[in-house]
């Protein structure tokens, strides 16, 4: 009798725990599908940004590695070829007609050809690229510090974000773009890279130039940059969240 009761109790416990697990799981999925819950989860991003910016000195450098640490294969993720006719033409011309425009809320809007960018003082850094998926690769990047271009175009006081408009378009025809805070443009390791491991940047890795934003995750490092626009607000650009991946639910602040 006592044994039977114990068995019943065990069955009951097992049943309730199983049901609770299933309810909790589908509960999580229901919360994910709601509109209010993800907006609460989202609050963590602002907190993370505030705290990380508070504990990280403005000019603290990301770790730089030695030649021996360079990855044998540097994965090319995301789009590996913009695939548009216009871009294909640039590739054929070896980007001789390509220009980088820096426009928007700046005193002196300026265009640079690839050759002109390469004549500016450059920075070479061997850094680690951390993908949001979890992998890391180390590469040697050479490029022009974005801060130098910023000092030339002189952002207006109300410019808060630099938006990178890119050449690549996804399968659904949505253009790729990214954005960063203007303050991060001046970080010494924030460069527009035109070389990877000593060779001109190839198409899979973002030719002719890609952003290196060393203190944030890989999806912030826009490839195939055509135009940089300084703006006060990200609303009205793409999906309004500040980037192609951000519009799909990834954090704008990608410090972790």
């Amino acid at each position: 009798m006592k044994y039977e009761r114990a068995m019943e109790r065990r069955q009951f416990l097992k049943g309730t725990m199983g049901a609770a697990t299933i309810m909790a799981l589908s509960g999580c999925d229901n919360l994910t599908q709601s509109t209010w819950f993800p907006s609460i989860l989202n609050k963590a991003e602002k907190l993370t940004e505030r705290v990380q910016r508070a504990v990280t000195p403005a000019n603290a450098l990301a770790k730089e590695y030695g030649e021996a640490d360079i990855s044998k294969v540097f994965p090319a993720n995301g789009n590996t070829d913009p695939g548009t006719g216009q871009y294909a033409e640039h590739v054929v011309q070896n980007f001789s007609e390509w220009t980088l425009e820096v426009v928007g809320l700046v005193q002196t809007p300026t265009s640079w050809s690839l050759a002109a960018l390469k004549e500016l003082p450059s920075r070479t850094q061997i850094t680690r690229h951390d993908c949001v998926e979890g992998w890391s690769a180390i590469g040697k990047w050479t490029g022009v510090p974005l801060g130098d271009l910023m000092r030339h175009v002189q952002p207006m006081p109300n410019a808060r974000y630099a938006v990178f408009h890119c050449a690549d378009v996804d399968d659904e025809g949505i253009s790729y773009y990214e954005s960063m805070a203007v303050v991060d443009c001046y970080h010494p390791q924030t460069i527009l890279a035109y070389e990877l491991n000593g060779a001109p940047l190839d198409v899979p890795h973002g030719a002719p130039i890609r952003l290196r934003f060393e203190r944030q995750l890989g999806y912030k490092h826009a490839k195939y940059i055509m135009r940089i626009e300084l703006v006060e607000s990200l609303a009205g650009i793409g999906g309004g969240k500040g980037g192609y991946w951000e519009d799909q639910g990834y954090e704008w602040y990608a410090g972790i």
């Binding site: 799981l25 999580c28 990380q52 603290a60 770790k63 180390i138 944030q216 954090e251 972790i256």
Partner: protein
């Protein structure tokens, strides 16, 4: 503590209630005759867990479940672990991937240190889809890295803030020194404790009022080793935190090593939770749950008060 302890009546069929005083003559008589003295399974109520500890404990339940399951969702985005700074794909310590056999059948293959295991149905391939951890183990259940990160990073904050408040309280209230730190006596009695555990013999009476040596060791190592480790290795995966505190990369041996340690620490938590819940069930489920909900724990004194025969 004395004021927190009170005696409760033993209530149960066939058991004599203590509230009925027996005439002294009768007691004397019963001592003279061969009748057994009234059994005395006194139940003592002990105030075992204070409110801040209880709140902190129950906050950890959803937190850890969500952190573990959203963590597995994130892991699924790149289901392999490495040592060092880089993730060279041919140098993985562990990988969990779907593979197609020659006959076209899909299999889940888990590779640990070069050794391959067929884990179809659980790891690598489950319910007709190629994914490292199955849908029932991840939050959200569908493959959705962005949402998994949102859950994970939100509850990571809850876990860290809760943990810091708990640690502060535990140190100030001397919960750490009084209840969690194993004493010399505890450690000397470890051999007996092993035997008792293997025989599923659980402490009663005075012994049951304190955590036993394994509880102390388990709680202390989770609190002071595994939890800090999981937080610090999580932070080491942040490229911004790495620039602020580069020594994190040095102590853990690189970002990918930190990711591997994070994963191992996660499964230490899983192991701890399984054993913890099992012990809660085995050592008096309702009493244990009540002590963590209301704070009051009932200790049975099975032999105290019974007059021993000469």
């Amino acid at each position: 503590m004395a004021s927190l302890i009170e005696l409760e009546e033993a209530i149960g069929p066939g058991e004599q209630s203590l509230s009925i005083p027996e005439p002294p003559v009768l007691v004397a008589q019963s001592n003279l005759t061969d009748q057994p003295a009234p059994s005395f399974p006194a139940r003592e109520r002990v105030y075992r867990h204070r409110l801040p500890l209880r709140i902190s404990h129950w906050l950890n339940v959803p937190c850890l479940c969500i952190l573990i399951m959203s963590g597995l969702q994130i892991f699924n985005a790149h289901p392999a672990l490495y040592w060092g700074e880089r993730s060279d794909r041919d140098q993985a310590l562990l990988s969990i991937r779907p593979m197609q056999t020659e006959s076209g059948e899909m299999k889940g293959v888990t590779t640990i240190l070069g050794r391959r295991f067929d884990t179809t149905g659980a790891l690598g391939y489950s319910n007709g889809s190629g994914r490292a951890f199955p849908a029932w183990a991840t939050v959200p259940s569908a493959r959705w890295l962005a949402m998994g990160r949102q859950w994970h990073l939100f509850f990571a904050w809850v876990f860290v803030i809760n943990g810091l408040l708990f640690m502060t309280y535990a140190v100030i209230s001397r919960h750490v020194t009084r209840d969690l730190a194993p004493t010399g006596k505890d450690l000397r009695g470890i051999g007996k404790a092993v035997k008792d555990h293997l025989l599923f013999r659980h402490p009663v009476g005075e012994e049951a009022k304190r955590y036993n040596v394994f509880q102390k060791l388990a709680y202390a190592s989770i609190l002071f080793v595994v939890a800090p480790l999981i937080v610090l290795t999580g932070l080491t995966m942040s490229p911004t935190i790495d620039t602020a505190f580069p020594w994190l990369l040095t102590i853990f041996g690189g970002r990918q090593a930190a990711r591997t340690i994070h994963f191992l620490a996660c499964f230490s938590f899983v192991g701890f939770i399984v054993i913890h819940v099992l012990q809660v069930i085995l050592t008096g489920f309702l009493n244990n749950i009540r002590s963590m909900v209301t704070g009051w724990f009932v200790v049975k004194h099975e032999h105290e008060g019974v007059s021993h025969e000469v």
